[in-house]
Amino acid sequence: MRDTFIKELVHHARTNDKIVLIVGDLGFSVVEPFAEEFPDRFINAGVAEQNMTGVAAGMASEGYHVFTYSIANFPLFRCAEQIRNDIDYHNLPVTIVSVGGGLAYGNLGYSHHAVQDFALIRSMPNMVIAAPGDPLEMSGCLEYLVENPQPSYLRINKSGEPDIHKTKPRISPGELQIFKKTENADNLLLTTGAVLELALEIWGSNDELRDSWSVGSLPMWGEEFRNTIFNQLKPYKRITTLEEHLLSGGFGSYLLEIGLNVQPFYLDSKVCGAVGDQNYLLSNYFESKEYLINYLVKRKELL
């Protein structure tokens, strides 16, 4: 996903001379294509994320669309106040790109686990969250952000994710992407971010579940789009969400706050401090696939 991001950013930067990429001394063997083609619009701000974010806001206030890029929490929590005051309050076009959203850097330890990122960003009124489910959704989200520069957060997994869509979808905030549709219009298994792959795996593994649940992804959301999302999801009687995030401030909590009938599945907070690769952590700190399948089959007609 991160290679697709850079490839697509290079593509957009060829026709949009306002695109700037600032990295916090990260992105080795990923960001070079942008740095080499646009040396004047590539900045390595060094290991200084607060300044990186303030500089990005300053440049954005002069008409640039600035992408700050780093790993997991570094471009987020370290500079939370710069995001809140400088970017969000001034409504400036800065896109914060976090590579390794969720547990993608699982072996690197808690410092590198972005499992509270939605909670931080979704509390900011002007921020749009982009958490694409596959590389093509990533391209669709980026296209939307380049066409509509605004305070935004792009959570991308890492690398090696398969394409789930067949072609790049048109994406806009609050709009649902439906992957698998059943005759039963009551039930929706909904994800945001790269956990979409897991949702489809679960869906594909059981006939009963396949006949009774649709699978959807909501790649762009945020405080401002509550009504759009409510109206789109209202027709579903039962919604089950999966997310690579803690419950507090997460995606499922967001939908519950909107007033939707949602059963969220999320990371056990005991994952904080646990170490292992993404699959290991998901199998130990997320409900098992078997449990989720049984749950969905049982819940298909219960309120």
Binding site: R41, A45, Q50, V55, A60, S61, E62, Q82, H90
Partner: protein, 267 residues
């Protein structure tokens, strides 16, 4: 109107509106009013009728708590009606108690320290990339030097040879509870900034001629960012406030206001 007269008038507005709102930080505003008056009268290329003119110089008040100084100067210069000053600190007013970008002539809202310089550095870098000649001026406090984000920005601006940014440090050596020296010493400040690659100018922050000379010197420096360390007196112009730590927070009573205005009117 000359800069000295602008500073005097703005000080009168400042004490008046801080009294009206029973607000804090009057001494912080009085500390910077000579710097602000010289900037707006003699240095900044800004037009009150066109506060968003793309070729204007950009001024950022990083010590946002001293906003009444800027509000008073902007009103005196005609960026907005002086009557609007009376809404300062009132419910629903755009003149909030930390500087607000919702006011004509204000570039950036601050209030949390350590934000103005990185933002200003971003503007200066943008100007370089767009090959524009306008400059960015950022006014900071001495206590604010304790924020790590400023030192990230000092490093970054020097690395990128941003000779179009001028930082001004209001060095009155008083912060919230006591002196800067006793709180968290920032000395030797000049040496620190020189070693970070900045061109350092030291000046009496209440001497208008000396300030003008410093800004003139700043304009001809090439290849380095510029910082002016302005030695100031917190509460300057109102004798009972000068160098008194309590005036960081205290509001003026009716009698104190009367005494302050009388002193400023006869200055």
């Amino acid at each position: 109107m000359k800069s000295i007269e602008l500073a005097r008038k703005a000080r009168i507005h400042a004490v008046q509106i801080v009294h009206n709102a029973q607000a804090s930080h009057i001494a912080s505003a009085l500390s910077i009013l000579d710097i602000l008056a010289v900037l707006y009268k003699n240095v900044l290329n800004v037009l009150p009728s066109e506060p968003e003119n793309p070729n204007r110089d950009r001024f950022i008040l990083s010590k946002g708590h001293a906003c009444v100084g800027v509000y008073a100067v902007l009103a005196e210069c005609g960026f907005f009606e002086k009557e609007m000053l009376l809404t300062y600190g009132m419910n629903g007013s755009i003149l909030m108690n930390h500087i607000s970008h919702k006011i004509p002539g204000v570039e950036f809202s601050t209030g949390s320290l350590g934000h103005g310089l990185p933002f200003g550095v971003g503007k200066a870098l943008a100007a370089k990339k767009m090959k524009k000649n306008w400059r960015t001026y950022v006014l900071l406090s001495d206590g604010e030097m304790q924020e790590g984000s400023n030192w990230e920005a000092f490093m970054f601006a020097a690395h990128h040879k941003l000779d179009n940014i001028i930082a001004i440090i209001d060095y009155n050596n008083l912060q919230s509870l006591t002196t800067v020296d006793k709180t968290l010493n920032i000395q030797p400040l000049s040496e620190k900034l020189k070693s970070f690659g900045w061109h350092v100018i030291e000046v009496d922050g209440h001497n208008h001629d000396a300030l003008k000379k410093s800004f003139k010197e700043a304009r001809v420096v090439k290849g380095k960012p510029i910082v002016i360390i302005a030695k100031t007196t917190k509460g300057k112009g109102v004798s009972y406030m000068e160098n008194r730590v309590e005036w960081h927070y205290k509001s003026l009573s009716a009698n104190e206001l009367k005494a302050a205005i009388s002193e400023l009117e006869n200055a």
